[in-house]
């Protein structure tokens, strides 16, 4: 009798544990599922976001490369012009009309120099961020050369020939 009572009690205890566990599970499940959904959604969003950021970075890098190419092309064009202008200094015995054309050319070079210098100044922010620093440095050097070559052209045809003794020195050198 006592033994039977003990068995029944034990069974009742086990049933109560199972009942509590089932109740807990039912209570936690939605919370787990809810959290899972939140993680899944955020994971998806972040995955999308990282791809989106990569695209943004690629677009920015493309723009920087395009900027570099643009200024390299501009620099090459200026350097080409500088060489062409230098070649003019090798011309001899120019008539009045040609000298007038050279005078116009000097004005045009200076006008071009002003425009390019304004462009360079407008790149201040980009340069301060260290973007395309090599390209902008070469661009500035080419602009400076353009200014320099305009001054040289003016010296060669308008100023140096009028400095006392300059032409005589050329004559004397040819006799040595």
């Amino acid at each position: 009798m006592i033994k039977r009572f003990c068995i029944e009690n034990k069974m009742a205890y086990i049933h109560s544990i199972i009942k509590v566990s089932k109740m807990d599970f039912l209570e936690y499940k939605p919370q787990i599922e809810n959290t899972f959904e939140q993680v899944r959604a955020l994971s998806f969003e972040e995955k999308k976001a990282s791809v989106f950021d990569e695209q943004k970075i690629n677009r920015l890098l493309d723009k920087i490369l395009e900027f570099k190419r643009t200024y390299t092309t501009k620099t090459n064009k200026i350097n080409f012009l500088v060489e062409k202008i230098e070649e003019i200094t090798w011309f001899n015995n120019l008539d009045e009309e040609s000298l007038m054309s050279i005078n116009d050319l000097i004005s045009s070079i200076r006008d071009l120099h002003s425009s390019l210098l304004r462009q360079y100044v407008s790149l201040d922010l980009i340069r301060s961020k260290g973007i395309a620093s090599e390209e902008t440095k070469k661009f500035k050097a080419a602009i400076d050369d353009l200014k320099d070559v305009a001054a040289d052209l003016e010296s060669r045809f308008f100023f140096l020939p009028n400095i006392a003794g300059f032409q005589e020195t050329t004559k004397e050198l040819s006799l040595i």
Binding site: E86, T89, A141, L160, T169, T170
Partner: protein, 132 residues
């Protein structure tokens, strides 16, 4: 081809060479002027009116480098280095005045007449100046 220089060139070269920021100057001069045919040096800005004895201003080391003033006596294969200056840095300036260009031109004539020149050669990638 024989290379000479004026005192002005030598003095300026030695002053610049002492500065670390102009360390490239010696190599640039050697690369541009030495082991070349004289006709290879006919480029840059010509400042006088002579095809045979051009007075040249040359930009060395690309943009932002040095400016060298020299005279070529093409028929004799002789070069007279007259002056140089950097465009940037603590000793740099953009250009020299027209009066200075004319004065250098007179000086080179006088120096040739009086043989007051340095003969410039290269030894172990260094410029050697020897008084004539």
């Amino acid at each position: 081809m024989t290379i000479f220089c004026l005192e002005d060139f030598k003095a300026q070269f030695e002053k610049l060479k002492k500065k670390n920021s102009y360390a490239a100057i010696e190599g640039d001069i050697i690369n541009y002027f030495f082991d070349k045919e004289i006709t290879q040096l006919i480029s840059g800005t010509r400042l006088n009116n002579s095809h045979d004895i051009p007075y040249i201003k040359k930009r060395l080391n690309g943009s932002g480098g040095f400016r060298v003033y020299f005279l070529l006596v093409i028929k004799d294969g002789k070069i007279y280095l007259m002056f140089l200056h950097p465009k940037t840095g603590s000793l740099g300036y953009e250009n020299i005045t027209d009066d200075s260009k004319a004065l250098l031109y007179k000086k080179v004539l006088e120096s040739i007449k009086t043989n007051n020149l340095y003969n410039v050669t290269v030894n172990k990638n260094k410029l050697i100046f020897k008084k004539n």
